[in-house]
């Protein structure tokens, strides 16, 4: 009210003294935060939006960091979500390179966020789209020059800068990021060894048959994969850089670069400061609203009710995927508009490794039977997952028709007969019933 009677210069002074006011403050300017802002404008949200993140880059897409970008197949410009003009035209203020360290929240959901720069940001509503950070690898030598993680653009740039000087790379962790980066680095001419602590590759996300398939394919292409590998330490070359990785068996694997990809930890710090319920992420209801009834939480950081239609009502899940960030953000946008849409959908995911394009439809957890479809001469491989005779998910390698058919069946609440599906020559689309 008072701002209206002040001269523009005084209004500016007031703003900087008490913190810039915004309608919605989105902390975390990545896949989820960007989608939330875009979806809100598409729905006609009129309040001012501030999209704030601690990275010193325009908001960009992460998936290519371990794939095309690492291999120089695409430039940084193609990772950018939106042009600068887009943000300006849509009344969305981008704040880069600012980390929020504390929050002063009011019972009505408004508050002030305090940044590391010393600036503070007043808001009416708050959204946390703060994502996750890499799990640190606890072993002697983990701080040597040449040891890298791969979560953001700075990590990728660091890895790209190190790569030309390396002939041997050790990748710690045989999950998606580790295998994608290992494939990329191999394509760049490096000798790559992957060390996986667990009993199989990508154990968290795919079933045994898919793990075995990836192991066989990668091994045939020359990746050296050590399942059940135990690392004792990363060894110094005497000048503070990596020379090798020593296993508990005593074997020493040469490496000038060690890439660690052993999973992520959700960034719950700000949620904790707000007193929100935390349990493997910030707990939200099916509308993407946290336990205080106000704060919106979206994406990798959110622990939410399983969105798959028909899933047990009390089943919770935290998903790390682009599809989830996008769909979850759309639901959150409705919540901020004062409407209530429940998050429901069929999660899907992709991962590109060497000549293998993996697409996953649905969630395979809780499966009790599988059907394998394989056309080796075409490089096609599919595993269908069933629970109680009903299809619940599929891992499809170079098999988009299978992927699309399963996605379609799941979305329509239909089934695919497992016996008929076991013939890889039969189109799954014709079996949806």
């Amino acid at each position: 009210m008072s701002a209206q009677i002040l001269s523009p210069s005084l209004a500016g002074a007031e703003a900087s003294a008490t913190g810039t006011a915004t309608g919605l403050l989105i902390i975390g300017a990545s896949q989820s935060g960007v989608q939330l802002a875009i979806s809100l404008r598409a729905l006609g949200y009129t309040e001012h939006i501030t999209l704030l993140g601690d990275e010193d880059h325009r908001p960009y897409q992460r998936p290519a960091l371990s794939k095309e970008f690492l291999q120089d197949k695409v430039g940084s410009e193609s990772l950018i979500f939106r042009s600068n003009e887009y943000w300006i035209e849509h009344n969305i203020t981008l704040v880069k390179g600012e980390r929020i360290e504390s929050l002063d929240a009011q019972p009505d959901g408004s508050g002030t966020a305090m940044g590391r720069s010393g600036n503070s940001y007043r808001y009416t509503r708050l959204a946390l789209t703060v994502g996750a950070r890499p799990r640190l690898f606890e072993a002697p030598g983990n701080d040597l020059h040449g040891v890298v993680y791969l979560r953001n653009a700075d990590d990728a740039l660091k890895l790209k800068a190190l790569a030309p000087g390396a002939t041997d790379v050790v990748v710690i962790g045989g999950g998606f990021i580790g295998l994608e980066a290992a494939s990329s680095l191999q394509a760049m001419g490096k000798k790559v060894t992957v060390i996986e602590y667990g009993p199989r590759l990508v154990g968290r996300a795919v079933g045994e048959e898919t793990s075995e398939y990836f192991l066989a394919q990668h091994t045939a292409r020359g990746l050296d994969i050590r399942i059940g590998g135990r690392i004792e330490k990363i060894i110094d070359d005497g000048q503070g850089a990596v020379r090798s990785v020593r296993l508990e068996s005593g074997e020493e694997i040469p490496a000038q670069v060690v890439l660690i990809g052993i999973g992520v930890i959700p960034n719950t710090q700000l949620g904790e400061k707000l007193g929100l319920k935390i349990d493997n992420g910030i707990v939200v209801d099916k509308h993407a609203i946290a336990s205080d009834g106000h704060t919106i939480v979206v994406g990798d950081v959110a622990n939410m009710p399983n969105p798959v239609p028909g899933a047990p009502a009390d089943e919770r899940i935290r998903l790390e995927s682009v599809n989830n960030a996008v769909e979850h953000a759309k639901v959150a946008a409705y919540s901020l508009m004062g409407q209530r849409e429940a998050y429901a959908g069929i999660p899907w995911f992709w991962s590109n490794q060497a000549n293998m394009k993996l697409q996953i439809a649905g969630l395979s957890m809780g499966f009790d039977a599988t059907v394998k479809r394989e056309l080796p001469e075409k490089g096609k491989f599919t595993v269908l997952y069933y629970r109680g005779g009903q299809i619940i998910a599929a891992d499809c390698v170079n098999a988009p028709l299978d992927f699309m058919a399963v996605k379609q069946a799941l979305a329509a609440g239909k089934n695919i007969d497992p016996y008929a599906a076991s013939n890889p020559a039969t189109l799954l689309k014709t079996l949806i019933a």
Binding site: K357, P400, L401
Partner: protein
């Protein structure tokens, strides 16, 4: 520079300048054009960048690869003769293309 003419399913046309080498999908998404999503960022995994290419332009394009062809069977709006995934069409210097976007991508 190149140009893409986007016509939406209701017939409204918008012309957007494209950088040489950028795909139609990138050009659309970066400028916030509704009608193309490009969820997978162009890695041929999502089929949310479906467009119908004007017949006279279609024949000037490189033929599509098998993967794109298969993905086109999974688009939200059924494919037609002139369907393409726009992340696979890269603009050449001076090129001008005309595409129509489907009513929905998901």
């Amino acid at each position: 520079m190149a140009k893409v003419h986007f016509t939406d399913f209701e017939g409204a046309t918008q012309v957007i300048e494209a950088n040489t080498g950028d795909s139609i999908m990138e050009t659309a998404v970066r400028n916030g054009l509704e009608g193309i999503l490009g969820e997978c960022g162009g890695s041929l995994s999502c089929a949310t960048c479906h467009v119908f290419v004007a017949p006279q332009d279609l024949e000037t394009l490189e033929p599509m690869e098998e993967m794109e062809d298969e993905m086109l069977y999974g688009t939200a709006m059924d494919r037609e003769e002139n369907s393409r995934l726009s992340c696979q069409i890269k603009m050449c210097e001076g090129q001008e293309l005309h595409v129509t976007t489907p009513e929905t991508q998901v």
